[in-house]
C-alpha cells in the first residue's frame, strides 16, 4: 500500500493482483451475478484510487478496502434499484415449466444467497476474505459483538436451510 501511495506502478499492480480476486469473490457472493460483480470491482478500484491517500500507514489494509467496496456496493444497489423502478417490462414473462425445477447444486454462493444482506456480507468477509472479527467490525462500521451476533444468526439460518433442503429431498 505504501508503494501505491508513493506512485510505484509495480507495487500497485501487485496490490491489484492480490486484492482483486478476493473482492470479486466478495461481490459475486453479494450480488449473485458475475457481470455485476466485475462492474462493482472496477468501480471499487476507481474509488480506492481516488481515496488512496486516506489509508493511514500502520492501519490494517483489508478493512479500509472493504469499507470502500461496501460503499460502492450500496451505491450500486441504489443506482440499479432506481433504474429498475423506472423500467417497464415490454413482454410478458414466459410461463414457468410444469415439471419440477431441479434443485440447484449447493455451493457457498447459493447457500448464503438466502441470508439478509447484512448477514451475507459478514459471512462473506469472514469466510471468503478470511478477515478477523475486528477487521469485519471496522469494515462494516459496527462493533465486534454485533458482527458475532450477525454471524451466529447467519449460521443458524444456514442450518435451517440445509434442514429444509434435506426434508425436500
Amino acid at each position: 500500500m505504501l508503494g501505491y501511495q508513493r506512485g510505484d506502478s509495480a507495487a500497485t499492480t501487485a496490490l491489484i493482483r492480490q486484492v482483486s480476486p478476493l473482492l470479486l469473490r466478495f461481490f459475486t457472493s453479494q450480488t449473485g451475478s458475475r457481470a455485476e460483480a466485475e462492474d462493482l470491482l472496477q468501480d471499487t478500484w476507481l474509488q480506492i484510487h481516488k481515496a488512496r491517500h486516506t489509508h493511514r500507514p500502520g492501519e490494517p489494509l483489508l478493512p479500509w478496502i472493504y469499507a470502500i467496496a461496501r460503499h460502492v456496493r450500496v451505491d450500486g444497489y441504489r443506482r440499479s434499484s432506481r433504474i429498475r423502478s423506472r423500467e417497464q417490462t415490454m413482454n410478458p414473462l414466459p410461463e414457468p415449466s410444469a415439471g419440477v425445477a431441479p434443485t440447484p447444486v449447493l455451493d457457498f454462493d447459493t447457500l448464503v444467497a438466502v441470508l439478509p444482506a447484512s448477514q451475507r456480507e459478514v459471512v462473506s468477509m469472514l469466510k471468503v476474505s478470511g478477515m478477523s472479527l475486528e477487521e469485519v467490525a471496522r469494515a462494516t462500521a459496527s462493533s465486534v459483538g454485533s458482527v458475532k451476533l450477525k454471524a451466529h444468526r447467519a449460521y443458524e439460518k444456514l442450518r435451517s436451510v440445509l434442514r429444509s433442503r434435506d426434508d425436500v429431498v
Binding site: 500497485t12 481516488k50 486516506t54 469466510k127 440445509l162
Partner: protein, 259 residues
C-alpha cells in the same frame, strides 16, 4: 455440544478451522451430518477465476493516473488542528465580545460547564479525525457521539442553574443565538480545511458531527460572554446554537451526498 453451541463457536472463532476446535466440537461434527455439511460449505468457498483481461482493464484505468500522494496525517494531528481552530475562534470572539459570563459563574458552574465542553470537543475532534479514513476503529454509533454532549450539557445546565427572568428575555435570546450560530459559521471553514482530504462514507453523520463541534465553539463563546444565567435561556439560546449547527452540518452532508 449442540448444533447451536457449534454455531456459537463458529461465530466466536471464525478464523480457526474445524481441526483447531475442541474435542467435543469435533465429535459433534462427526455425529451431525448437517453441521458437517455446513462446515464443509463454509470452509471451502470455491476460488473465483480472475481473468487477465479484467486485471488489464483495472490497470489501464489506474496506472496512467498514478501519482505519489501523501497519506492522511495521524489522528491526533488532525484532532489538534481542529481544536486549534476552535480555540482561535473562541479567543477572537471573546476578545471582541468580552468575558462577563466567565466572571458571573460560580466555581462549580465554571468547572462543570467547561469540563463538559472540553471533553466533548476533544472527543468529537478525535471521532472526526478517525472517520476521515474508511474502515477506522468503531467506538460507538454516531448518534451516541452526537447525543452525548448535548444530553450532558442539558443535564448540567438543568441541575446547576436556576430561573432568572428578565423583561428583555427575547432580545437576550435572539442576541445569544445570533452570536452562537455566527461563531459556529466562522469555525466551519477552518474545520473543513482540516477535514477536506478525508473520504466520507457517511457524509450526513460526519457533517452533523462537524456541525456539532462548530456549534460547541459557539456554546463556549457564549458561556464565556453571556452573564444571563437563566437555565431556559442557556437551553434555548446557547445549546440551541449547537443544535442548529449540527442540523446545518447534516444538511451540508446530505447535499454533498446527493451531488
Amino acid at each position: 455440544m449442540s448444533c447451536d453451541d457449534l454455531d456459537r463457536l463458529r461465530a466466536e472463532s471464525p478464523l480457526s478451522g474445524s481441526s483447531d476446535w475442541p474435542e467435543e466440537a469435533r465429535r459433534h461434527l462427526e455425529s451431525c451430518a448437517r453441521c458437517a455439511r455446513l462446515q464443509a460449505l463454509l470452509d471451502g468457498p470455491s476460488p473465483v477465476d480472475f481473468p487477465e483481461s479484467l486485471q488489464s482493464r483495472i490497470e489501464a484505468a489506474i496506472l496512467p493516473a498514478l501519482r505519489p500522494v501523501s497519506p492522511l496525517p495521524g489522528v491526533w494531528r488532525v484532532a489538534a488542528a481542529l481544536l486549534l481552530g476552535a480555540i482561535l475562534v473562541i479567543a477572537a470572539a471573546n476578545w471582541r465580545l468580552g468575558v462577563e459570563g466567565w466572571d458571573a459563574r460560580s466555581g462549580v458552574q465554571f468547572a462543570v460547564d467547561f469540563s463538559l465542553l472540553g471533553i466533548s470537543g476533544v472527543a468529537l475532534s478525535n471521532l472526526l479525525a478517525q472517520q476521515m479514513m474508511p474502515g477506522s476503529r468503531y467506538r460507538a454509533a454516531v448518534w451516541v457521539w452526537l447525543a452525548a454532549p448535548l444530553v450532558a450539557l442539558l443535564a448540567a445546565v438543568a441541575s446547576l442553574y436556576g430561573d432568572q427572568f428578565k423583561p428583555d428575555y427575547v432580545a437576550w435570546a435572539l442576541n445569544c443565538l445570533k452570536i452562537g450560530t455566527a461563531c459556529a459559521a466562522c469555525s466551519a471553514p477552518l474545520f473543513w480545511l482540516a477535514l477536506r482530504r478525508g473520504f466520507s462514507l457517511h457524509p450526513i453523520a460526519q457533517g452533523a458531527a462537524a456541525g456539532l463541534l462548530a456549534g460547541l465553539v459557539g456554546v463556549t463563546v457564549l458561556e464565556i460572554y453571556c452573564p444571563y444565567l437563566d437555565r431556559f435561556h442557556i437551553f434555548v439560546s446557547h445549546i440551541g446554537a449547537a443544535v442548529i449547527a449540527a442540523l446545518a452540518g447534516a444538511a451540508f452532508g446530505w447535499i454533498k451526498n446527493k451531488t
